[in-house]
Symmetry: C2
Subunit: 389 residues, 2 copies
């Protein structure tokens, strides 16, 4: 199987940008990714592009992929829009890797974009709801926060996870995001604040929920041959995995974990020939605080049921044994749905290359990204390492 | 590069089915595809699935891929929704092929589904419009038929293409579709009828336009090793190509052809090591009569500007030198957006295996599929051959 390398990666700011469009945001991310390549990359060499977007707001529901790549001058190259709800650009990145492995492409672009903040709260709830199960969840009145609230409730009941443990996720990720100039909610919050937020869907409060954001991300992947031309600091995508699960929470064998995460992680670890103990840091899908705790367990960072004590121990703080969401995560950096998975890879790329500014953690050799679609209907996991294979 | 084979393919009926859902239609196509495999295929062996859908009507806009594959019991396998407007399942098929070539999958499913007939005319126009360019076409009032009408008008002005030549496409495809039990509009029409249809967008009339349909398609692709286990009548996907073009017609270098078709076809021919003269028959994207004429030229079946005389010569009739749209095409078989590209492959599969019933043409060795997203924002072309490589 051909090796795959990341040679460039960038994101736009995440936030609320009334003067930007989905095209201009994507352009910012794409130009940043091209500029981040050590050597000179002729953009004409991009053979294949994959764009992840949910198409919130219905701007360009058909062909949104070609609509953003043509805007940056790539109108000749094959471009495919992929979508698995909030895992859209995580999936785009994996498809770009498969295109390189297949031999069809030597240089591939994986990007993502979403504009979400120019709608009413009611419209936003509709568009978030479409990532849940339609007939028996959304149309029965369950909000997306409500779905994760059920998981939180069950985890608290089964394993004794506490209100404070949930809030520690928010406090940690806000502290990280406060050091990220691209973050949507780039401010710190205290444990008291996080514990006393107004209720969104009991037991989840405002500080348990990520914001809805505008933003874009772009990652440039190449074969080993092309990577050798372009850089002396290669970041290898050493493993990827993807799995699906029942779209509706009520149809899963368990709601205190996400089976598709476990399956996708097993594939990625096997391909990379590593285990969870070998992962130095991770960007995980913390759309809600409980989602980060479930990820610790499903990715194998701690034992089942132990995620609460694990976050409390400080293990996932920047100075802990395995920092998680150094970027601020979805919680603080923000969650422009289609851009999120690609944005996770941007942070891993920057940390592994020592380019993460104030939030840089030294000595990181291997990172992981974990991107969830819906409440677990699709999950994609990637493992990234410094250096040539 | 690993070889890719089609071992099973089926479609649901195309039409208006108020008692069906997008899940039940997909199930019909999927079960048909599994049943069409010569040997016994354990569905647990499907490693990767790609589902094309535009998501018309907004039923399950997020995660529609996993939502249909879980319905047929494939909830563990990786499933990715892909969308390039009307080329959605043509793109799904190419992605499934890349997954096999990459080595990640040995058995992959490419499917597509759409439900379109349970909406008002106004809603339908909205959903068709989203495949055109949003800001300067749809929001300026251009319908999707209006976009193709501009191409027809230009082709008539530049090359002398006539009203009768456009109508001959409709007459031929209806005659073919009348022999297809799955066709939505499975009736013949006379040349007079086709020429005198009520105007939709001048110069296009009702008989120049395909219907909006409900339907689904499914194709099972495998590596050579798996194909050898399952069949003695292999159909090889010997070449694929995909290209993008400007999404808006007004931004293209020409409107009397679709540049992305030319580019995608060149890639597919090169990969298959053939030229257009080697193609025995084709399923092309005749969403409007003019689109079939443009395809003849852009695929190299005739010289530029000669498509009108070419159809008039009978060359693309079932007894002509190169039959086109033996299934009835989008015009008569129907056009359930997300299902269409996969459905084209179903017809090629059946014709190459001699299983096309009343519309079978004998002696076919090599077929081509041509699937267009929007008015040419994305195009995917496939070349299929009988036998082992």
């Amino acid at each position: 199987m051909r090796e795959v390398y990341l040679v460039g990666a960038a994101q736009s700011d995440y936030g609320s940008f009334p003067d930007e469009s989905y095209r201009s945001l994507f352009s910012t991310a794409f130009e940043g990714a091209v500029d981040s390549v050590d050597g000179d990359l002729d953009r004409e060499r991009i053979d294949e592009a994959y764009i992840g977007t949910l198409g919130v707001g219905g701007r360009q529901l058909g062909l949104p992929g070609p609509a953003v790549t043509e805007h940056v001058g790539l109108d000749g190259a094959s471009c495919t829009r992929v979508e698995n709800a909030c895992a859209a650009s995580g999936v785009a990145l994996r498809q770009a890797a498969l295109a390189i492995r297949s031999g069809v492409a030597d240089v591939a672009l994986a990007g993502g974009v979403e504009v979400m903040t120019d709608m009413s709260g009611e419209q936003t709830r509709y568009w978030l709801g479409v990532s849940g199960e339609t007939e028996w969840e959304r149309m029965a009145g369950t909000t997306f926060a409500g779905v994760y609230a059920q998981m939180a409730d069950a985890h608290m009941a089964e394993y004794g996870t506490t209100r404070e443990q949930l809030s520690r996720v928010a406090v940690k990720n806000h502290a990280n995001g406060a050091k990220n100039p691209h973050a949507h909610l780039g401010f710190e919050c205290s444990l008291d604040q996080a514990m006393e937020g107004s209720t969104v869907a009991d037991p989840l409060n405002l500080y348990d929920c990520c914001p809805t954001s505008d933003g874009a991300s772009a990652v440039i992947l190449t074969s080993r041959e092309v990577a050798e031309e372009l850089t002396d600091e290669p970041i290898r995508l050493s493993g990827t995995g993807q799995a699906s699960g029942r779209v509706g929470l009520f149809q899963r064998p368990t709601i205190t974990g996400i089976p598709a995460t476990t399956e996708a992680a097993e594939q990625a670890y096997e391909e990379a020939d590593v285990g969870p103990e070998d992962v130095d840091f991770a960007e995980v899908h913390d759309c809600f605080s409980i989602a980060e705790l479930l990820a610790y367990e499903d990715l194998g960072f701690c034992e089942k049921g132990e995620a609460g004590p694990y976050v409390e121990s400080g293990a996932t703080e920047p100075d802990g044994e395995r920092p998680v969401n150094l970027s601020g995560g979805l919680k603080s950096k923000g969650h422009p749905i289609g851009a999120t998975g690609g944005g996770q890879a941007v942070e891993v790329f920057k940390q592994l290359r020592g380019e993460a500014g104030d939030r840089q953690v030294d000595g990181l050799e291997r990172g992981l990204t974990h991107n969830v679609g819906g409440s677990g209907g699709a999950v994609v996991v990637g493992v990234y390492e410094r250096g040539w294979a």
